[in-house]
Subunit: 366 residues, 2 copies
Amino acid sequence: MEEPRKRARPGRTPAPTGRTSRPRQAEVARLAGVSQATVSLVLGGRKQGATISEETRQKVLDAVRSLGYVPDPAASRLAAARNNLLGVFSFTSTFPTDVQHSYYPFLVGVEQEAAARGYDLVLFTGSSTGGAGAAGPHALNRVRLADGCLFLGRHAPADELRRLVADGFPVVHLGRRDELEGLAWVGADYVSAGKEVVAHLAGLGHRRIVLVREDDEAPASTDREHGFLKGLEEAGLPGGPAAVFRSADPEHDLTAERLRGWLDDGVTAFVAEETDTGDAWRALHNAAHFVGIDCPRDASLALLGSPPPDLSDGPMPTGFDIPRPQLGAAAVRMLAALVAGEQATEPLVACAFRPGTTAGAPPAHH
Amino acid sequence: MEEPRKRARPGRTPAPTGRTSRPRQAEVARLAGVSQATVSLVLGGRKQGATISEETRQKVLDAVRSLGYVPDPAASRLAAARNNLLGVFSFTSTFPTDVQHSYYPFLVGVEQEAAARGYDLVLFTGSSTGGAGAAGPHALNRVRLADGCLFLGRHAPADELRRLVADGFPVVHLGRRDELEGLAWVGADYVSAGKEVVAHLAGLGHRRIVLVREDDEAPASTDREHGFLKGLEEAGLPGGPAAVFRSADPEHDLTAERLRGWLDDGVTAFVAEETDTGDAWRALHNAAHFVGIDCPRDASLALLGSPPPDLSDGPMPTGFDIPRPQLGAAAVRMLAALVAGEQATEPLVACAFRPGTTAGAPPAHH
DNA sequence: GCGCATTACTAATACGCATTAACGATCCGG
DNA sequence: CCGGATCGTTAATGCGTATTAGTAATGCGC
């Protein structure tokens, strides 16, 4: 006839000293003369089914106030099976020394939207080796700590991402990313925005428009061209290869001569895409200046994005702004939806048209 | 002879659906053919007393990798360990729309140092603008999820902070904060930096130097003045109230007349403090310009900090730079020390002297 | 080949809270 | 006055991990 429990009590040692730790629900319960469960129910806000008498509720709340009780978030999150944490992972440093290349504008929206939804943010850095030696090819697994994760930049390794997605871990990529089946993403609607700019120019009376773009296969570039061509088509203007000037080194290739040629051909408006370097716009800007174009009198210019910092003093270019904060917010919205088990939300975010001062009516034709 | 347990099993419902959730230690254990405790031991780093054979350790690590296991921070926290998470809490938005007012420069250092030490960062979005009422009086308690927390800005409510400190939660405040007993902080060593600037001017031959400061009791201001006066004293130069010009509205009070008066009295160098607004420096700058001073030929100027953005195009002021990234890094170092139960590290961070071009030898005296 | 120390691992908690089946009490209709 | 419904509360359990007492296996000296 053996005792079912002979062992001395294992487990963790109780508080080493009598130091006053913060109060627990159990202590509140004792003071209020109720059970711990009742305390939890009172504090947990009114849920369905649970009914608490007003008298009890007050006793509990009084005890809570008197003890200065605050819930332990770790315990709550353990019990609730979620932790209200959204991950933000960027392969490069999230806060590089050079502010220009940072994700700051996105983070503005990410933080706001996350806060509005009651989420906190966990920042993972790709470059860091990370806690328990989880470096190497499995570094991305660290993000599983959060309820879901946002990826910034185009360097996140595809196979790791695929693994996360396959495991049902909520992931959202900031920037279009079609090649990865099942990966949720949000991106700017460059097609519509490009179309809109062309429509604006066409509305001003321009009949021949040329796009200057860099030699790049990034979705952001091809989308802009796509929108540009679509805009021409819808306006009944000539499209085709002649309407697009593509160069790996526009600053060198976009000569004054070439620009004069276009002007002679009846081209009255030029559109450049925005890129990291801003080379397309800079080349167009310089060539126009060199030829002595008075913009927008002699010709109109438009920029599909924002000017690079070194050209931001000049006149505000007609075009559109990439809504980076809104993109960040949209990404959080989608991530929150995925975490909640809902459908992904709308991935495309509209770009705001920017009237600017570099586009006007084409010069009168004699 | 009654069964000790008749009740049906209460408690929480099991996983509602068969959706793949994150792997647990138990699953790793099953895959590796060991017990959950062994997994915990292997992952917990080698502690005293626990010995694991290399073979078992490898089996476990393989299973961990193969399943993509990462520990649940809430659970490890609850089990009274650490979770390699450091909190970052700012009363205002961490990423304000206006980059100028952001904590970005600090975050650069915080991220680097945290990454280097294997910590990830939790950004508590607590007090951000759009917060859906989540910012109760106990909002600060959320930070307890992390191993420790960094506080940015001077708006963190004192009583809440005190509560955290009293409970033994590791907290570091970025910026001097003496009035709160027991609060650890890191701050720039404005006293030494101010002294150094004065020493530099004295070394150039200046004998009468005046400090222009705003009417502000912030530690950053009083420290600068303290250092300034100390510098005068060590150089054997006249200090006292006459050496400090204090004004709530320097742009209005620092007239050309007053400046001329100083010059006539033999003052050859002027020092201004940096503040949010940069008013002291701006006033000094404008007055000097108005009087027609050729700096540094006619008089020397120095700035205890960096110029405001609108004056950043001018000549680089002699003075010092506030080492914001280093401050962030130092804060993380101290926080890590506190988390590890060690003593707080050195709170003061040296400011880098900036030679600049606005200080030179005083004009020859005839 | 018997104690005893060491090694390698496991069983059994405990952490603080949320959840839920169950239970006593009261109320109600017939 | 009895079966059922409703209300208010509680006991019991689980979340995932860290910790520690205990144990089986092995090595060692005499």
